[in-house]
Amino acid sequence: MTITRDDVIDFIYAEARMIDEGRFSEWLDLWLEDGIYWMPLDYKQTDPDLITSLLHEDHFMRKLRVERLNGERTFSQKPKSRCSHVIQRPFVDTFDTDAGSFETNTSMHYVETRLDEQFLLALTAQHQLKLVDGKLRIAGKRVDILNCDAAFGNIQLLP
């Protein structure tokens, strides 16, 4: 299969749609097992280990997060939250078909709501994608929140 830049860009759009439609189990399957979903706490943070992050989740933690959303006794999801990503056309920063390796940088506005509360986050998402068995998969995702140093209430879904 020959990958085009449009395929890479379409993947990013499709992932956002999947999350917004609550298809979280499908979203988990986009990931490679050893991929890390990272959301830094500090502006331009470089160290994920020795200072706090908002998220730094491996396969197990992502699965736990998704399973919990559907749990019988997940009271913070009764009623459930909803979210919406509005995304700018991703920049394809790396396009290496020989290695099957691609990197994108995407600006997003993320809205999450539950009951009468709603909030807006401005984000930059950086994806590392790999072509495995003819399919694009997520090898790593870093989401930087523009106001990462602000105080937030609950952020329950997947910015």
Partner: protein, 448 residues
């Protein structure tokens, strides 16, 4: 209509031996009285001195509702100053941290101050010569808080100029901070990165109470910790393999009531106390040899074992911080209103210890206490439901009876059942005393 200002009897009546009136959580007037009395009369956490290592380094923060600057003065001591220019009130600094050199300079009219607050210079000084400026507070510069004490790096302030001393206020409760610092082979801590900042639409006391509430984890956190345990059991992990750090952290939340009962609790006078006397949810963490060796080298085997043998799960320093000695975390529950609390969760490096400890601490902080944390979501949902539920008029009292004893005396150290609500009752005993300490003074009330 005012119910409580100038009415200490009404404030005292809000705290019964095993119940408290909902107004302590929902009343705007009680919140303002807390700021004026409780938070002025007690010793409140300001920051860690490793946040201001060099002369002129400062941080801006707040003690209760008072904006303050914590700064390293030219003599090496840490000072805590009210963050306003004595001229027109302009905040002197608003960035969260920085270095001001030898003096602060107000950005509005260039009044300048030494880093202990003393007035250094005013432009057009001759314009003040024929006035009574020299008799005013403004001429003395930036005002310091009532008293400051640095205990092994942890800086506390008492806003009131007169009141209980640091040693009398904390007494033996400082043993938890001592134990946390002793866990560093070099005997000191360093702050590691910025804090998590998590906004809660609930009263600050709900958060403080929850720190020693050993009956909620297996219920409120079933969704997160319970699911984690189930997923882990379904995984292909084999008995004897090292447990992933994340599971070590989250799984013990599902321990049964008996575990938390046996974990034990200790209370000290003035509202301080801790869970985890005999054991704790942090007890079974796997440790690497390198750390034990560094501790043995620093302290000798016997003392090192004694330090690491302490459990000290959650220590509450009344009124509004909790620290976890075994994982070097401090949470500051900053009251912003009767129904609004900013929670800052800080972590520290054990100086001289291997990195894996700080890695675990950072992991704990984000898994349990971040705005993005599934465990945090469980807790905040309960606080916010309580804040809303307390508005119902069907019952105006919150219940704190569990394991209450006849005629409880909070004036001495006590240890007992880990699921007792004793520490919550201890906090309200202190709450009442430090609220009333200055409310009884008619002159002060008249000035309000």
């Amino acid at each position: 209509m005012s119910n409580y200002a100038g009415n200490p009897q009404a404030v005292a009546a809000l705290v019964r031996p095993n119940q408290v009136h909902r107004d302590v959580y929902v009343s705007e007037e009680i919140y303002r009285l807390e700021m004026k009395h409780l938070f002025a009369n007690t010793w409140v956490f300001v920051g860690h001195d490793s946040q201001t290592p060099n002369k002129g380094d400062y941080i801006t923060t707040q003690v209760a509702d008072q904006p303050v600057i914590m700064v390293r003065h030219s003599d090496g001591e840490v000072k805590v100053l009210y963050n306003r220019c004595p001229h027109k009130g302009t905040k002197i600094a608003i960035d969260r941290s920085g270095n001001t050199g030898k003096f602060f300079r107000c950005p509005y009219h260039a009044w300048s101050f030494k880093t202990d607050g003393c007035l250094l210079a005013i432009p057009l000084k001759k314009g003040y010569a024929q006035t009574d400026f020299g008799d005013t507070a403004a001429s003395r510069g930036m005002k310091s808080v009532g008293a400051v004490h640095n205990h092994r790096g942890f800086v506390f302030a008492r806003l009131a100029p007169e009141g209980i001393s640091f040693d009398e206020y904390f007494g033996d409760a400082m043993s938890s901070i001592d134990n946390m610092v002793d866990r560093a082979p070099e005997g000191r801590l360093e702050v590691a990165g910025p804090p998590l900042r998590y906004m809660h639409q609930c009263n600050w006391k709900m958060l403080v109470e929850n720190q020693t509430d050993a009956c909620h984890p297996m219920v409120a956190h079933e969704s997160s910790a319970g699911t984690a345990v189930r997923l882990f059991e379904e995984s292909d992990w084999k008995e004897g393999d090292p447990k992933p750090m994340a599971m070590e952290i989250i799984a013990p939340f599902m321990s049964p009531y008996e575990f938390f009962e046996g974990m034990g609790q200790r209370t000290w006078p003035n509202g301080h106390g801790h869970s985890g006397v005999a054991t704790s949810i942090h007890k079974e963490y796997a440790e690497e040899d390198e750390y034990g060796e560094a501790m043995n080298a620093a302290y000798g085997e016997e003392r090192a074992a004694e330090i690491l043998g302490e459990n000290r799960h959650n220590t509450v320093y009344f009124p509004n911080i909790m620290m976890k000695g075994p994982i070097q975390q401090l949470r500051n529950f900053i009251p912003l209103g009767p129904n609004k609390t900013l929670v800052e969760s800080w972590i520290y490096r054990l100086v001289g210890a291997p990195d894996y400890l700080l890695k675990r601490t950072a992991m704990y902080n984000r898994i349990i206490n971040a705005p993005t944390s599934i465990v945090g979501h469980d807790d905040l949902e309960m606080y916010e439901r309580a804040q809303e539920g307390l508005m119902t008029d069907g019952n105006e009292w919150v219940d704190l009876h569990r394991n209450a004893e006849e005629g409880e005396d909070f004036g001495h150290e006590w240890t007992g059942n880990g699921t007792s609500e004793r520490q919550m009752r201890n906090q309200f005993d202190a709450w009442k005393r430090f609220m009333l300490a200055t409310m009884d003074t008619p002159a002060q009330e008249a000035a309000e």
